[in-house]
Point group: D2
Chain length 338, copies 4
Amino acid sequence: MNFASDTSAPAHHKVLEAVLAANQGYAPSYGADPWTAKACTALCDLFETELAVTFVNSGTAANALALSILCPPDGATICHENAHINRDERGAPEFYTHGGKLLLLPGAHDKISATNLEPLLGAINRSFVHETPADVLSLSQLGEAGAAYDVTEIVCLCDLAHAAGLHTHMDGARLANALVSTKATPADMTWRAGIDVLSFGFTKNGAMGAEAVILFGKMAKRLDTLEARRKRGGHMPPKQRFVAAQVLAMLQDGLWLELATHANTQASALADGFSHAGAKLQHPVQGNEVFVCLRGGQAAALRKAGAQFYDWPDGSARFVTNWNTQKSDIHAAIAALG
Amino acid sequence: MNFASDTSAPAHHKVLEAVLAANQGYAPSYGADPWTAKACTALCDLFETELAVTFVNSGTAANALALSILCPPDGATICHENAHINRDERGAPEFYTHGGKLLLLPGAHDKISATNLEPLLGAINRSFVHETPADVLSLSQLGEAGAAYDVTEIVCLCDLAHAAGLHTHMDGARLANALVSTKATPADMTWRAGIDVLSFGFTKNGAMGAEAVILFGKMAKRLDTLEARRKRGGHMPPKQRFVAAQVLAMLQDGLWLELATHANTQASALADGFSHAGAKLQHPVQGNEVFVCLRGGQAAALRKAGAQFYDWPDGSARFVTNWNTQKSDIHAAIAALG
Amino acid sequence: MNFASDTSAPAHHKVLEAVLAANQGYAPSYGADPWTAKACTALCDLFETELAVTFVNSGTAANALALSILCPPDGATICHENAHINRDERGAPEFYTHGGKLLLLPGAHDKISATNLEPLLGAINRSFVHETPADVLSLSQLGEAGAAYDVTEIVCLCDLAHAAGLHTHMDGARLANALVSTKATPADMTWRAGIDVLSFGFTKNGAMGAEAVILFGKMAKRLDTLEARRKRGGHMPPKQRFVAAQVLAMLQDGLWLELATHANTQASALADGFSHAGAKLQHPVQGNEVFVCLRGGQAAALRKAGAQFYDWPDGSARFVTNWNTQKSDIHAAIAALG
Amino acid sequence: MNFASDTSAPAHHKVLEAVLAANQGYAPSYGADPWTAKACTALCDLFETELAVTFVNSGTAANALALSILCPPDGATICHENAHINRDERGAPEFYTHGGKLLLLPGAHDKISATNLEPLLGAINRSFVHETPADVLSLSQLGEAGAAYDVTEIVCLCDLAHAAGLHTHMDGARLANALVSTKATPADMTWRAGIDVLSFGFTKNGAMGAEAVILFGKMAKRLDTLEARRKRGGHMPPKQRFVAAQVLAMLQDGLWLELATHANTQASALADGFSHAGAKLQHPVQGNEVFVCLRGGQAAALRKAGAQFYDWPDGSARFVTNWNTQKSDIHAAIAALG
């Protein structure tokens, strides 16, 4: 019963088979290999558009590199106060932007609302040199509380940001889960909704370690700078074929959505079970994460039964499902709740 | 006949088997997994000492992170003018040290000599605030021209550096090849010789993508800072077991030395063949790299025969062998030289 | 009637006379001059302790350099959300700390309270590598709303910070005004209260452009690093005598406190006048700043009468007095309020 | 007999009188004052063109800020190996460019020659992501050995740089001395010769502490970024009128050229005297610096007679004259040489 994190799960066997298959003979290093080229094409197909893309090993690297080409050192990125880029990346955005600020917004279920965003955008005065203006809006999909932005919300927030002269970034570490949950297409949820740069995560969804940074539309022109920053950050793996092969395996026949669907289904089942047992859900379940308010001895009972999960700073308990979560795990957890 | 780079070679099948074997069930993320713990222990055994270690995916990351805990932003690192950290990492050391300088030394066969180092150390004036003093000496093993430092040379250079108040770093991207060539033990060539921090590379030697940053002696106390910088740099992979498993596979039963021995043997055979054919070697062959001065149509003849290699800035041609180089490749190359 | 800012005021004539007097003959450059040495001695006398000090031209430089030796790149500084270092220095702290974070606290009258500080300190987990821990507490004297911390408050906040392993910094851009207002001694309000590093401002108080960064107690050992950072930041003026001479003039015969007393007295008179006229004060007046809630046409009337002041983001109007504010200005402003 | 440095000299009395005159009443802070506006106009007149300009207190700040808008973090600046930006600014360029590299060229008399520059430019491969390409050429006027580039040389070097896609910077800490020596106009030696950004120094020439960063032509569009970086660097003085007033005083009636002419004349007289006494000049005297090879007890004799000067790393002795150097000093030094 491991609900600690989707990063604790193994990789899907098809991913490893693809890595094995890629281990044949010589291949140009540093991204000039055919697997990388194929993964680029596959992403163009998936997103129904031309795009530029590069690959890295970790979500933190993807986010920080994405921000490094959007936010100047004397600029700022707006994000939710609980965003992963603010709370869980040890200042990686500040490092890669050379000191760019994060401007933090509150918001229910760790989502930014237009109501909170508008006054911050309205207060920007680019001619006032003393104050750091915002240059980027970063949205997390899923957010840290497991909630998903739907396409309408993203359109609204991106429109506001663009009108104020900002670029937009999506931390899509769990994009697959959000897409499954909201029944949106990758194109509709990203560039068609106004997202300029996307961190597209595969690791939590079932890869060993593979993330893409995708530049949509005019942003594609910044690929050279992104590649220079990637090299400079130590994120250009010599044998890049092994990263690209993972992405290809995930995209092949929709494996990535299949795995996310499974994880989401298990989360919903867990949430339903918890609800029926009378436990209150802290946040809407719109992906593979369940935040539940446990009473009295419930946490202890669950842990005694072998369940692993995190106590969350908001007072709830966080349960994360993954592509490998078994129905029996769900049943056992619900039973342990009593 | 791919002699372009050892990074173009595939990974050894035992490395992939180990990765597959590590893909069982859940494991704590971000380095708290048992593979990481075992790899630490294996490295302690190998180096015959207590040490602190962390793992990353690329050699550039290993070097830059190592320097980040040795060289302050207002300090400098001495290295050879052709060192990988100066010529081939797009400023990663400057990025990770927040602007620390590289002080460049010339030297035959891309090696630093005591003769060149001493005047630079002698000129350091730490009380003169205007000039950037050196804080680190970084040696590359192999150097960029394929030459190895022997233990005596390392002892001499490290003694000079320590006496002048510097710390020492070794970029061991091809440490295995240097050890095989000089018949030294890992301990004798590193900490016993005065190396404080080691970038220990496995990727060029046969892994998919795995490098260790090793802190010897008192440097081990800097592990917390190194881990913070690693996270901040985006180099703490969520599913770190897949990196540690590669290291374990390489160390198991001396596979890493076996592979380096093979690569070195092929390089020697290639060098001998070239010499017999009358071609002049530009640098001593002390690892898996051969730099040869080609005449007239020799380069064209080799390429026509299918050989891949690089024209080097010093006018020679670089041939790199690897764990997977076939004897038939060597024979074909020598035959093509005519 | 210029109440826009104390930075709009001229310098006191004694400061300029001291600069003129310092312009005699040759003097060693970059801080080795006798004026700098005398200013150090004068500050030791003033603070009744040994200390290390350096001088710069702007308050932003003083703050950013102070933080650069207290907060590592992977660390954070706690400050009030409206602190000058967060709102008005265009990211200078992030620049000089190479990406260190600012952790923002709310608090009435732009002051940090123990109530708000304690939970933040309590949540620090230095062994959790993903989250940025706090390394510094920075207090502003005066705060952005013109309120002063009294010695008891500073002692309490510094004790909490030190107990949690933080260092403490005071942005004393208007330290003189706070000292006059609270009737504390420089020593009691700073190092005896637990302040480790002080930015001591003279510019707003009557100098042309002179600020000191003072390292108390064990912090004095960091002077070499501070000097290296100062040089590297371009803040080591070749003819430093002209900066030191300003500091000496301000300290001579207590001129600095005399000027602050004058400014505070004018602010009190202005506040009293506004209150008698029925206007509500937004914040306590504990220095040379008055924040008043203006009604209906009052702001327009004041401006029509020639008064310069700022509309503040909290809805009030800010009036800043200075060493040169005339009683007639105060009377005219009160009269204009009606 | 102080020949240590022109930074040891006092400021000219007209500069101080201008500062005194500027100390009248209130003035908008942070550069919105009329002195700053007038100084901008005066510089446009002087350089016979539209330009954008900002002012700082030190030459290191001017250079580092200039480079910060020309050289990206993943780029490089070409300069002479003995350039002030490389040897004497404690890494300020690396700090302000966030880790941009300095690519060092040798060259007689500390000047870059086309012969040395061309191969470096020719080797730039902007599509090779591993190596840092050059983005800026920085020339020092005077160079560190006291030699001046003439207009023809600057045109040639700037043409080469521009053709290779670089921008050009001039460190004009002693621009006045070079102009006097070469009889060129400010416009001819800078923007008409191809200089994009100029650090224009007044401090060594007779100001207290005032330097301008001037953006010519299309570079003027980068003023907003420059101002943001200036604020962020702590180099936007609250009472900026006192800096601008110095610049105005220096430009008034050609004072700056008059002072440089005096300094140069003294240097020439010193050099002539040394030559007649049989001492060999190490470098051509083309400004206010004399580098002479002293024999036997000459250095001791000079110092015994009260002369202050520096032993230079190239084995010569450096004598710097300034606006305040007296003929009697020259005579005494020559006499002491014997």
